[in-house]
Each structure stands twice: as structure tokens, then as C-alpha cells.
């Protein structure tokens, strides 16, 4: 039995239970991990400005000049928007936050709207990925979890 086989056998025994536990732990959301705020209290975290930097002149981004990009405009009076020049020729910082304390779904809406607004301003369109060619999808818990994570990904992250 070579080294790889020994390790494989050992990991099969010791790792079986451990791997199951780790898999479960991987789906546990630690407070703050992968999110905008790691240590803020929930209300302060929810009230933070969410921002993207857009490589366009402030005049091209200014809502007073041309109106908000459609994804942000769709959020209406619920949000306030701040437009400031970014340092070092990096374009414009476009930030937004809710006027009230939002829930997680609303924060997801705002993240997705900011990213789409940036894409519209920089590229002119939002990159799509669906529908993609794919083969048979096995119905597994891991697959369902990944599909959920991918669908939520535009609305998740550190913004």
C-alpha cells in the first residue's frame, strides 16, 4: 500500500465524520463573515452606505444631471444616493443607503442595483449568464445549496 492509499484509507475513516461535520459547518453563516460589517451591531451594519466605484466622470453619474441609473431609480425614495469623485483618476464613487433600517432582502436589492448601475455606466449592459448550456443536474443537497448560492450571489458579498 503506497502513501496515497494509506492517507486515503485514513482519511476515509477519520475524515468521514469530520468531513460531514465540516460540510455542515461550511453552510453555517458566521456573523459578519463575507459581509460588509464583521463587528458592527446589526442596525449600524444595515444602515451603512453601500458603494461602487465607477470609471466615469462624476457628471456622467450625477443623478441631478441625468437621473439615476434605472436599477437604482427603481428603489425610488427609499434610498438616498451620494456621488463623489474618486481619488487618483479612478472615476466616481456611487454610494447609496436606505432612509430606513432595511432587512437583508432589501440590502440584497441594493447591492444588486449598485452593481447593475455600475455595469450600465461602464459597459452599457449587464452581463448575463443564464441560460447556460449544461448537462444533467443530479438532485443532490450540495447541488441545491450551490444553485441557491449562485442565484443569491449578485445580491450577496461585502458591499
Amino acid at each position: 500500500m503506497d502513501l496515497t492509499q494509506v492517507i486515503g484509507r485514513a482519511s476515509g475513516l477519520a475524515g468521514g465524520a469530520g468531513a460531514a461535520l465540516l460540510q455542515r459547518l461550511q453552510h453555517v453563516r458566521l456573523p459578519g463573515a463575507g459581509q460588509a460589517s464583521a463587528t458592527d451591531d446589526p442596525e449600524r451594519a444595515a444602515r451603512r452606505w453601500r458603494a461602487v466605484t465607477v470609471l466615469r466622470d462624476p457628471a456622467d453619474v450625477d443623478p441631478a444631471a441625468g437621473g439615476l441609473p434605472a436599477p437604482l431609480a427603481a428603489l425610488g425614495d427609499r434610498i438616498e444616493v451620494r456621488v463623489t469623485p474618486a481619488p487618483g483618476d479612478r472615476g466616481t464613487e456611487l454610494a447609496a443607503r436606505y432612509r430606513h433600517t432595511p432587512g437583508p432582502d432589501e440590502i440584497g436589492d441594493l447591492r444588486a442595483a449598485l452593481r447593475e448601475a455600475k455595469a450600465l455606466l461602464e459597459v452599457g449592459e449587464v452581463l448575463r449568464v443564464d441560460p447556460q448550456p449544461h448537462g444533467r443536474r443530479a438532485a443532490t443537497p450540495q447541488g441545491a445549496a450551490l444553485e441557491g448560492a449562485a442565484q443569491a450571489a449578485p445580491r450577496e458579498g461585502v458591499l
Binding site: L22, Q26, E122, H134, G135, A149, P154
Partner: protein, 389 residues
């Protein structure tokens, strides 16, 4: 169409899937003429990058013929023979304007996954999991290419398909490592890994003026390719003490530039190799970084280490003290292919960059499962399996 799909850990197969379509104005659809395995695919197939869904079409290093053009595409026409960069980049964001294309802000529609893992999201990539966009890969008869004016390059007539294919990723990745590590005329450059990327990093270093280039691996057929086709020196780490050998060959200094082209499944000898294997198999670490560790320890004071191999998460026993106290510059990146492909195609046209020898196994797409078996096991001298859809 027929396509190669990931069907579970260490399971790859060919099945019939829907044809791709134009989804954005700046897309083209390509009829794939050549598509190759890449070492980084093995991390996906082995389950080390846990963002694959069964049925995902894999493959990210390819070329083909444009068969459909979106209404927003300016510079590509039906019939163009093009090679395609593996990372998807818009060409207009700040990162693209800095020629850091794999960091594109608008290339990954799933940014939340990698922002959670790494704090920021890189761009998207063909056939490389939902963490980098979930785009269908190139091991198929057809593939959709977003931002086609930015990521596709017309291949000069004098460059064959067999050569141009590797401009897609292996050569551009290797070139980037040599360039961004700061290779200068007169330098000694050491490269860990004699796969396609490592060989091309060595060749790029020579074209950038390095005086001495040493490639480190353990597979005799790959080391022989380095001698014969790249023209660099070699070290077999299975029979030679790499650190001692590099010191001896560099007057005791160590290499000026160290390029790691191995990635998260590095093999190594001795206690370190056993330690990393056990920890990775038990899922207590995601990556085996033995080549990175050695590169840091070998590098001369004030030198530069570039990580080209793909890593996913935290690594263990990282010699940060050596990196800090020796004043090293440590850098890494996924490939900024769009930055280098035009220059690479020129070198290929002049015969200064040859890649045909990398394609040790050329086979129909239907044989992809066998191709990946050969590639993973490195049997029969397999360096790259190339599929013809």
C-alpha cells in the same frame, strides 16, 4: 451539441447539452476547433474548488471560428479564426484599463461568492465553477464568448491552430508571471513546475532577457521537453536537493525571480509532503503549498516570487518570516491574457515561441474522459490532452 461535463468528484463525461446563444450584445458564438486540458481543471474535477454543479461544461483554454456575432460587437466577423483568453473582461472598468483583466469588475455575475471568500471578487472565467461566473466552458462544439472585442484575438495566417491554441492560457499565464515578477536582462529565473504554464513561463523569461532559467519538476519526459523545446536548464527535485542546487548554480545568491507554476495540489518529498497530503485529505487545509514555500526559501534577498498556480483558500506553514526578512516581493494573479496575447501571437508568428510539443495527446471530444485520466495520472508522457470537437 456534445460537451464535456463535470459529473461529480473525479467524474468527467461527454453528454448532449443545449447549444449556446447570444445573451449580451457584445457576445459572439464560437465553433470550437481546439480546446485543451489545463492543470487547474484537475482542482475542479477533484472537488478542491467546491463550486461545481453536476452537468457544468468545463474547459477554458481554446480557439475556434466565429459563427455568430452580437449586435454590439465591433471588430469580429463571422469566419474569423480566433484564440480566446480564459478570463472574461469588459475592457472598460478601471482594472481593465490598468491591463489587470482577470480582476475585471464586470466579468463575474456571481461576485457574492468570492467576495465572501476573498474580500473582493475577480473576473469571470469559462468553465471554472460558479465562483467565477458559472459560464459554460469550451470543451464543447460551441461556446458563447462575452465581451468578444476584448477577449478574442484573430490568429495570424502563419500561426497554426496547434500553436495558437496555447496563447489562450498557458503562454499568456506564463508570460504574465515572468513579466509581472519583474524579470530583467541578466536575471536568473527559477520556475517550479514543467507543465504547459511552467514551460511557457521559462520561455517568456528567456525572451525577456533572463540569462539563466532553471525549471524544477520530477517527470523525466517534461524535463526533457524543457531541455529540447524551451532551452532552459532543469532540476529533478526527486533526486536533487533543490535549495542546494539553486544556491550552487547562482553563486550562493539564489534566483532573482522565482515563479511557482504548480498550484494547490503540489507534490513534494519528505515529511512536508506527508503533512500536506494528510491535512488536505482530511479537509483541514484546502491547498498544498509546498512549491510556494520552497520558492520563498530559495529566492535571493530582495528577489521576487510570483504565484501562477491556482490556490483557493488559506495555506498552512507559510514562511512569512522568510518573505519579510529577505525583503521579497510576493505577487500572484489569474491570467491577464488580453494584455499579452497580441505580443505572444507575434512571437509565435516569428517562430520564437513554439508550443506544439505540449499537445502530447490529441483526440476527439468524445474521448475526453480518457484524456483527463491520462492528464491527471500523467501516464504515457501526457503533458496536455487536446480535444477536437
Amino acid at each position: 451539441m456534445r460537451a464535456v461535463t463535470w459529473q461529480g468528484v473525479n467524474e468527467v463525461g461527454v453528454e448532449t447539452v443545449p447549444d449556446p446563444t447570444i445573451l449580451n450584445d457584445r457576445d459572439v458564438v464560437l465553433k470550437v476547433t481546439r480546446t485543451t486540458t489545463c492543470g487547474s481543471d484537475l482542482h475542479l474535477i477533484g472537488g478542491y474548488i467546491p463550486a461545481m454543479r453536476t452537468g457544468d461544461v468545463i474547459g477554458h483554454e481554446f480557439m475556434g471560428e466565429v459563427v455568430e456575432v452580437g449586435p454590439g460587437v465591433r471588430d469580429r466577423r463571422v469566419g474569423d479564426r480566433v484564440v480566446v483568453n480564459s478570463f472574461i473582461a469588459c475592457g472598460t472598468c478601471w482594472y481593465c484599463r490598468q491591463e489587470l483583466y482577470s480582476l475585471c469588475d464586470n466579468g463575474n455575475p456571481n461576485p457574492g461568492i468570492t467576495e465572501g471568500l476573498w474580500g473582493q471578487s475577480p473576473g469571470g472565467c469559462f468553465g471554472y465553477s460558479h465562483a467565477v461566473g458559472g459560464f459554460a466552458g469550451s470543451h464543447a462544439e460551441y461556446v458563447r464568448v462575452p465581451y468578444a472585442d476584448v477577449g478574442t484575438f484573430v490568429v495570424p495566417e502563419e500561426v497554426s491552430d496547434d500553436r495558437a491554441l496555447f496563447a489562450s492560457d498557458a503562454v499568456s499565464t506564463g508570460w504574465m508571471g515572468a513579466d509581472l515578477a519583474g524579470t530583467k536582462p541578466g536575471d536568473t529565473v527559477a520556475v517550479w513546475g514543467a507543465g504547459g504554464v511552467g514551460q511557457m513561463a521559462a520561455r517568456a523569461a528567456m525572451l525577456l532577457g533572463a540569462e539563466q532559467v532553471v525549471v524544477i519538476d520530477r517527470l523525466p519526459e517534461r524535463l526533457e521537453q524543457v531541455r529540447r523545446h524551451v532551452g532552459a536548464e532543469v532540476v529533478d527535485y526527486s533526486t536533487t536537493d533543490v535549495m542546494a542546487e539553486l544556491r550552487e548554480r547562482t553563486g550562493g545568491r539564489g534566483p532573482d525571480v522565482c515563479i511557482e507554476a504548480v498550484g494547490m495540489e503540489a507534490h513534494s518529498t519528505g515529511v512536508q509532503g506527508v503533512y500536506d497530503q494528510v491535512k488536505q485529505q482530511l479537509r483541514l487545509q484546502t491547498d498544498r503549498p509546498s512549491a510556494v514555500r520552497e520558492a520563498i526559501m530559495a529566492c535571493r534577498k530582495g528577489g521576487s516570487v510570483f504565484v501562477l498556480g491556482v490556490f483557493a483558500g488559506p495555506v498552512d506553514k507559510f514562511p512569512l518570516g522568510a518573505a519579510m526578512n529577505k525583503g521579497l516581493t510576493l505577487r500572484g494573479a489569474q491570467v491577464h491574457g488580453q494584455r499579452y496575447t497580441p505580443r505572444i501571437l507575434e512571437h509565435m508568428a516569428r517562430g520564437e515561441l513554439t508550443t506544439e510539443h505540449l499537445a502530447t495527446h490529441v483526440m476527439p471530444l468524445e474521448d475526453a474522459a480518457r484524456g483527463y485520466e491520462l492528464f491527471k495520472s500523467k501516464e504515457d508522457g501526457c503533458v496536455r490532452a487536446v480535444f477536437l470537437p
